[in-house]
Symmetry: C2
Amino acid sequence: MIVPTLCALAEPTRLAAIRRLRDGQEHCVCELMDALGATQSRMSRHMQVLKQAGLVVDRRDAQWVRYRLNPALSPELASMLDAILIAQDSLERKAA
Amino acid sequence: MIVPTLCALAEPTRLAAIRRLRDGQEHCVCELMDALGATQSRMSRHMQVLKQAGLVVDRRDAQWVRYRLNPALSPELASMLDAILIAQDSLERKAA
DNA sequence: TCTTTATATGCGCAAATGCGCATATAAAGG
DNA sequence: CCTTTATATGCGCATTTGCGCATATAAAGA
């Protein structure tokens, strides 16, 4: 079902995390929590939700856990992510 | 914010309603509740959520309330809806 | 081995959500 | 008017959610 995926995305911090991961690079939790102003435990749990939804994958690297977009995302899901982020951009521009 | 919009869509009955409304036609609550197997009060409330999110508009027509996609939806939001429905289609095909 | 840094998780609690049920409102038609 | 059909909503309740806090786990390095 697409619904759990949408659920995972329907949260400001998680959507912001996805936006950051959209650069194709890996990002550790500590970077994301700083950038997005979340507490450590919250950020960790948010990333678990995204992982559970299959949107991201993680990898242990020394002390860090590196998250990146799931490279196996179907083209349809990738397009959906793009469309969501673009829609968000457009709404923010409209607000300004 | 896009988040409330995603929230509104992240529910099976509501997403199914949006899919039906995607035909551009008007649909009354009684039709949607029958088609989607929802109770009357649930369906009514779901449509209120979609309306509140700006995704649909309604119109009184005798005893009926006709819902349709918000014709003033921005192209970006319309594209997002399409992308979500396409992603859902692709997941369902994958499941089969 | 002790400390530091990074991440995950158990837990308790307050708030939010979702639902059914009953009832209210609205319009049409006998 | 009274009934029927369609829709909306108030309310109570059980479940879920989201959060902070403390603590556990993991890895590195002094």
